[in-house]
Amino acid sequence: MKKPKRHKQKGVSFIFTIPLYIFTILFVAGPLVYMFILSFQNRAKTWGVVNEFTFQNYLNILEPIYLKTFLISIRLALITTVLVVLIGYPFGYLMAKLTAKWRTRVNLLLMIPFWTSSLIRLYGWIIILRSNGVLDQLLMKLGIINAPLKLLYTYPAVVIGMVYSLVPFMIFSVYSSAEKLDWSLVEAARDLGASSIQAFLTVSLKMTLPGLLSGIILTFIPSMGLFFIADILGGNKVVLIGNVIQEQLMKAHNWPFAAALAVVLTVLTSLMIYFYRKITKVKDLEGLL
């Protein structure tokens, strides 16, 4: 069936997508594909790459030192996520229970730290945690300790920094889920004989699960990549995969190896997203925004 004029109309819509199409292929797909190819190449003596095909980079990853780094990164991400859930979930949940007036206020109060540069907030922690910094001085004045804690440049400091940076995402995620909760369902459960805890577990938890799960994803994945927190608060003591990649790229100039590390990291995160989608059957990430 000839439909010349209608085709022209559909053509206009297609034209609109062309900038996106081109940009995506050129600057998103292209680089990712190149990274993959790069990981199979070999580093030249001083600069650049040699066009050979090799698995060596991936084999190097299997060396204990790098495997250990992967494990440390995953472990840190896990600890961070658990803490973020413990702190952020109750906050988001309780926030949703406030009256409308207070909800707007708390929302506004959360916005300011959220929009403040993460570097500024981390700097604040440096002030608190450094030797003879605020925390030390406070504890010493209270007589709890005698000598500075030397908290800065330690693993706990990095954890604090990660949790602090990522908690807002969890809060907003849980809040947007909990806000839509129909409280009359909880009341109905109580009315039918459930205790507070039972009502929570059977009703509230189930209904805020989407928010919780997307918050977990929003925490776990970035925490694999926020190497600058480890850099600032952990110094050279805490080395994550991100740090290694940066080092390999900028200092050792071993791009293929860095690419291989990045590929492995990408695969790991993709697997996690895949399982997350399977569990929640969520097709779009629009809810995350």
């Binding site: 069936m1 000839k2 439909k3 004029k5």
Partner: protein
């Protein structure tokens, strides 16, 4: 012969696997008010959208003023639509909304202003130019939607259940206004509704649609007094339908045999054979009921059918009694008044005069006109 302004030829349309329109043929005369009447899902909105150009038919042609516009996009046809939810552009004022089509044609500023003022006058909303759609009531928005559609002087105006969202009072008032407007402007109106009262009040012709086909096309009188199919009879005026076997024809009266008795109906021009299945329709106002213990000698030409009273109810100023026949068919009789001696489970005789009933389903269900 009057001017035919719009023709639909053998229009077929399917969505996914459902056939929504099945070979539609229609000729619409210039200046007439024609209504597509049917319940939801019958295909009336799809028909309208095909005329407007918002959908393309799978096969068939749309001919406007002699020109084949089947594949033309909506912005090139001289047809305008009043949408069901009005679709007034929320970010534009009333005068911007109305003037939009003229701005697209790059008409001059003063020309646009004149046309907009005239259009607002026509729908009795003078002075509303600067208002925003969000500030208007339902009835006002509907009028702006009409003004916006007529300012173009379209040859055909399509109205998709424009009064559906309004309350009864407003609906009745606007029905009268719309009819007057149409007569005054002389534009051909193609109107969609599921409300039979509306259709009967406003239209020059009605097209009753069912399952993607035209059941009957005719004037309101034709549709009401002489329905051609049982669907039309039931949909317009709520008739009772009865099917049986032709037993005999005498003096132009057809005697139809059913398990519960004999029904009579006047013979129409189509030939009938003894033993053939026949269906008739009779309006509830014309059904008589009398208790069996008061059997009087009925005229032999009157219908005589036994049934059992099921329910009595009062609705819209009439007393309605529903009677069940042995095969489960329900007959409804209605009359003025609030009560009668009949109670549920009473045995009754249903009767009527043959001139009050009518044979239906005599030809193929869909019409060409």
């Amino acid at each position: 012969m009057e001017d035919i302004i719009l023709q639909l030829e053998q229009i077929k349309k399917s969505f996914d696997d459902t056939q929504v329109l099945d070979s539609i043929d229609l000729s619409i005369k210039s200046g007439e008010f024609i209504t597509l009447l049917g319940s939801s899902g019958c295909g009336k909105t799809t028909t309208l959208r095909i005329i407007a150009g918002l959908e393309a038919p799978d096969s068939g042609r749309v001919i406007l003023e002699g020109k084949d516009v089947t594949n033309e996009v909506p912005n090139k046809r001289n047809v305008n639509t009043v949408f069901q939810n009005y679709a007034l552009f929320p970010h534009m004022s009333v005068e911007s909304n109305i003037g939009y089509s003229l701005r697209l044609k790059r008409a001059g500023k003063s020309e646009i202003k004149k046309a907009v003022t005239k259009a607002l006058e026509t729908v009795q909303l003078t002075g509303f130019e600067k208002r925003m759609p969000g500030e208007l009531s339902g009835g006002q928005r509907q009028r702006v939607a009409i003004a916006r559609a007529i300012v173009n002087n379209p040859k055909v105006l399509l109205l998709d259940e424009p009064l559906g969202a309004l309350d009864l009072q407003l609906r009745r008032q606007l029905q009268i206004e719309l009819k007057r407007l149409q007569k005054r402007l002389g534009i051909t109106f193609v109107y969609i509704t599921h409300d039979q009262e509306e259709a009967l009040n406003m239209s020059d012709r009605i097209v009753v649609m069912h399952n993607g086909r035209f059941e009957q096309i005719g004037t309101p009188t034709q549709i009401y007094d002489t329905p051609k199919t049982s669907y039309v009879a039931k949909f317009v005026g709520s008739a009772n339908i009865l099917t049986g076997i032709v037993k005999g024809i005498e003096n132009n009266i057809v005697y139809i045999e059913t398990k519960d008795g004999i029904a009579t109906v006047l013979h129409k021009d189509k030939p009938l054979n003894i033993g053939q299945k026949a269906t008739l329709a009779i309006r509830s106002e014309q059904v008589n009921l009398c208790p069996t213990d008061q059997e009087t000698a009925a005229l032999s030409s009157e219908t005589f059918i036994r049934g059992t009273v099921k329910e009595k109810s009062f609705s819209a100023g009439m007393l309605r009694i529903s009677v069940a026949l042995s095969n489960g068919t329900e007959f409804t009789a209605s009359r003025h008044g609030i009560d009668s001696n009949l109670v549920p489970d009473d045995e009754v005789i249903i009767s009527w005069l043959p001139g009050d009933s009518i044979l239906v389903d005599l030809e193929a269900p869909y019409e060409k006109a």
